[in-house]
Amino acid sequence: MNNQYDWSKHQFQQVEKKIITQQDVEKFKTTQIIGELLAFLQQLIQSVQNKKISQTKHNQKFQQIQQLFLQLEELLLKVPPIQQSMRYGNKAFRDWLDKIGPIVDDYLKMQLPDNLQNAAIELRSYLLDSFGNKQRIDYGTGHEFQFFLFLFSLFKLGVYTEQDYEGIVRLAFYKYIDFARKVQMTYMLEPAGSHGVWGLDDYQFLPFVFGAAELNQNEFGLLPDCIIKENVIKNHKEEYMFLQCIDFINNVKKGPFHEHSPILHSLTNLTCWSKVCSGLIKMFQGEVLFKHPVIKHTYFGTIVEYK
């Protein structure tokens, strides 16, 4: 679809939230777009099967997005947390969000080809909503999903192609995850709609999915039970996203791993990473994509169409 359709003649629109009721969630399950999103996700997963991070192929196409994250990070330093009594999250987050608009707009001008500049109106909304909620000063898997939709949109427009799947995961999405962690820590973002001990993680989901694929039949013979071995994480986290995620959680949460992250801990019962990955894909659908409190905040336009 993406390569045949002439997007340069397309009428782009302001995105909107379309999912209001539980029935809308049920309808979402049957849309064409959900099929496209899941197929896209599968291709991305395949592209990083049994591959260390250092094995990532260089790809020019991702220079602009990496530049974007560098600029956003510079801005983080210019808008430090403020010392003030507040409810929880730091209010400087709102100031930072106010300032990222022009940076995002400049980035989109460079990222999008000349004949697709009009797509910015839809893409900017996904990007601006990828870092957390301005009013509540929180962050959750729904924000991560908005960024995923942003990457999907670039793919659907033909800016990224089938050759770029691995780059989309490692050169774009992982850069986003690294950066999102910095935002979360800088402004102490509240876990938005966390499922607590009944969820995989307060903030992220997809890095675990890709991370499980990376470890599939890995050369070190690491099995799912390795995630509770401190030395394994220390020695291998540079190469494997799943271990980076576990490391981050251990650094931030208090108490034993089995207590604060029981679902992740229960994965140590599984005998191979492919079972972890396929289970996480099902869980992603059950707990993120088709859960009303998460998906009701999703934006739909003409690229990600609610149809």
Binding site: Q22, Y88, R136, G196, K253, P262, L267, P293, K296
Partner: protein, 310 residues
Amino acid sequence: MSQYDNPNNCLDGFIEQLNKCKPLTEMDVKWLCEKAKEILQDESNVQPVRAPVTICGDVHGQYHDLMELFKIGGNVPDTNYLFLGDYVDRGYYSVETVSLLLALKVRYKDRITILRGNHESRQITQVYGFYEECVRKYGNANPWKYFTDLFDYLPITAVVENSIFGLHGGLSPDVTTLDEIRRLDRIQEVPHEGPLCDLLWSDPDDRNGFNTSPRGAGFTFGTDISEKYNHTNGLTMIARAHQLVMEGFQETHDKNCVTLFSAPNYCYRCGNQAAILEVDEHMNQNYLQFDPAPRRGEPHLTKKTPDYFL
């Protein structure tokens, strides 16, 4: 002859058991919810509460921290309590937490008032863990059904000595007076919109007036709204919960509104204190803050891999 024929003894047994963090049987849950319904159905949408009373915010299944709360604030019935909802979801022990509070309510109905939070809902508990926990601990969804049917009967708001207004969320553009709340039919699942929804979902805000809530339910309301509401209804303060607070409590709107949160170190990451508000017989207020209870040993929950992976 069954244990249920001597209710007080039975309830004392339940409380003793729950104080050891041991869940009740399915039959016990059914009976307890029936008894609780009999009491709650006679309570008002604006339930009157006498001082002295200690007001508490969200607990979210953090059972050991609820035990800590009772250590700090005093046990029922020595201390009177007003809980502002959100007993379940997110934590390990929503079943034990809500069972204990219900058992205390049925045993000492005039000593403890329990209001409805936005998580005391069928829809929400199927997302945030309580349903899952019930099925794991009981092998079926019956207890979840008994509890969530019972949640419909929890009062929405309370007033302490005609002075402090207690509720879970916040104010509604559809409600100006306490009488308007009294006229609502609360015996239903929490709706997606309208006053019954707003009272459980709204948040105080810096901006004046009512504004759209980023939660996608309820509204945000400003200092002007709190002031006007308290003035109209002869109240001194709104005590609500629903939002994480670093220090456990936060006074806003020129002290017209206070947020209480009683789940310390929320999600094992937030590092927040919990707080409860003691109101003595002269209506003097004192905030008590506390940290998480020291954890001893492993939670009872079996390390079961979720069905997604089987």
